[in-house]
Subunit: 343 residues, 2 copies
DNA sequence: GTGAAAGCGCTAACAT
DNA sequence: ATGTTAGCGCTTTCAC
């Protein structure tokens, strides 16, 4: 039999005061004799008192918990988001309930319900379903995370700055002497694809380049999708060095495997630039040069936005966090060699 | 202004019954007229009633929440553990608070305290500190996870079956025509190293092989550690095919990079077997053949053991989950070729 | 079969 | 400055 946890009454009794005095002392507020407060603190220490968050939440209407619903906790990017959110939440003394929806709208809905029952003070969600049905009925302050947030107006959201990321990547390619990269992108149905291509177009126009001749190849956002797309590229007639910008690190790594499969080598024959910044990119050979999304910062920022939402402060609106380039070696440096072409 | 969440009283009023009747109906218990119960259920549906877990927890003394403290949520293995625990917990209708200690004992202690304050019903912990100081004062049912559990007696724990895993790996090596693999293991200070080597010795004895001549190389449990260890091996005089069994996938991948660095190739010149089953192992070239720890099962099983612990049922004691081999191509098949030796 | 009432641990309004 | 009291939402006796 486990013995009862000490309550504030135990503390009060031991200090020889009433429970409200004990509460005041513990809260560190005013109207308390320093000597009394000392006695209470000592008593609390002595009995090993820990405030009961359930009871506090009940009185205050604040559970001190936040929810985070992401599509896949085993995906390194989302794990980073979770860690960032976790740390930020811990700093302000609240707990984070992390749920992985595994891309299943049903599971997502269940998790949202669980959060509501747990009386979390708010939630951060990357919605997998295309409708906000669950969410507008959610009845809780919430913040959206990731690119899907674009679909919904009037909702605070935090994501990465695709425009800046693409600029970073394309400028780097140019600096290394590459031009007109082949774009390996996701399937037409995905919003992320559109955003990526839009960013590329915008950048080209800004740099006075015609985006039209850019070769665009579709694929699933997976290793296999990247592999197949790359094989397609390599099997087209072409000469010279091939440069590829993949919209996703998994595809980039798949592309790298395809290059090797065709007896070519990276970066000698083919240069590859990825996008995401997953740790696996460091384990390929050569290491994958990529644009890293700031997963941790996104998570941390989402918690901050959520707090503003909870406190009823003016909304942040959409926040886009800057990405950074990780140079690892999958890009050839052609800047001092004669120009090459992709055909 | 967000409007008040409906309580059981709202439901009772709408159904025209008292709150205790409403509670009974919702609980699905006995002593209730089917017709009344129907009315209550309808009313609950209509007002969008969601039980308040804080209040329930307060009355029942059960918060309906469990804690999970792991060293690194961004590590794929631990993420799998978290997912397994998460899923299992969701199945029985409890929430899981996941905390990442980032290998920091201080952070771990803070998380443990947060769990206690949140009044979780129990916790699953992979302790980073060598002492159980925090834990025996923890004052909550808990289950240990991972190999560090070995240090503590009288505590339920769940981990992977190293003995079975090593047997699996070594038998596979033999089947592929390899013998006397070089062992790349962790630093002497780590308990996991001892367990791994013990398992190898035990297996050799069982198969009537002398384990003494096995070459053992130390390194940190990291990519770099594996790389350095492998370079050491390759720089020793040797001939023929080299076979390596790394105690950890990160080291195995590091070893693979080292092989390429020396102008050799895997699996033609060097065969590599890993241990862990991290997803990155699929992205190397060749893919890493490895023994996968059942992270998800471990998480799920830990939740079950924790429940037993909470319910006061007879303890499980130590549970070791079986591992499985993932064959990807980093091992040469020498079984039909003449014998090779490692010197 | 149903309702009234107590109480879980805490905070805040009110009284002293 | 400190004590008393009510009540957050729920479950669980105990009456009827």
């Amino acid at each position: 039999m486990r013995k009862r946890r000490p309550t504030i009454i135990d503390v009060a009794d031991r200090a020889g005061v009433s429970k409200s005095t004990a509460a005041r002392a513990l809260a560190g507020g005013e109207n308390i004799l320093p000597e009394t407060r000392g006695r209470v603190l000592t008593a609390a220490q002595a009995v090993g008192y820990e405030p009961n968050h359930l009871a506090v939440g009940m009185r205050s209407g604040r559970s001190g918990m936040l929810g985070l619903v992401i599509p896949d906790i085993a995906n390194p990017f989302w794990a980073e988001v979770a860690r960032g959110a976790q740390d930020r939440a811990a700093e302000v003394g609240v707990s984070l309930l992390v749920f992985s929806s595994d891309w299943d709208p049903q599971k997502e809905e269940n998790h949202l319900r669980a959060l509501r029952r747990a009386r979390v003070d708010g939630a951060i969600v990357n919605p997998v379903s295309d409708t906000l049905d669950d969410l507008d009925r959610f009845g809780l302050p919430f913040v959206l995370i990731g690119s899907s947030a674009e679909r919904f107006a009037d909702v605070s959201s935090v994501g990465s700055n695709i425009t800046q990321a693409v600029t970073l990547g394309l400028d780097h390619l140019v600096a290394k002497g590459h031009q007109a990269p082949v774009l390996i992108v996701g399937p037409k149905s995905r919003l992320a694809r559109t955003r990526f291509l839009n960013a590329v177009n915008r950048h080209c126009i800004e740099r006075d380049v015609d985006p039209a001749p850019l070769l665009i190849v579709d694929g699933e956002y997976t290793l296999e999708g990247g592999r197949e797309a790359m094989l397609q590229v390599l099997d087209r007639p072409h000469f010279g060095h091939v440069c590829v910008f993949a919209a996703n690190d998994m595809m980039a790594i798949g592309a790298m495997l395809a290059v090797r499969e065709r007896g070519l080598s990276c970066p000698e024959d083919v240069s590859i630039l990825g996008f995401d910044g997953i740790p696996s990119g460091a384990f390929t050979f050569p290491g994958l040069t990529t644009i890293a999304k700031p997963g941790r910062d996104i998570g941390a920022r989402a918690v901050e936005s959520l707090f503003d939402e909870i406190e009823g402060r003016p909304e942040h609106g959409r926040v886009y966090m800057p990405c950074r380039l990780i140079d690892r070696g999958s890009l050839a440096d052609l800047s001092r060699e004669p120009r090459q072409m992709v055909g």
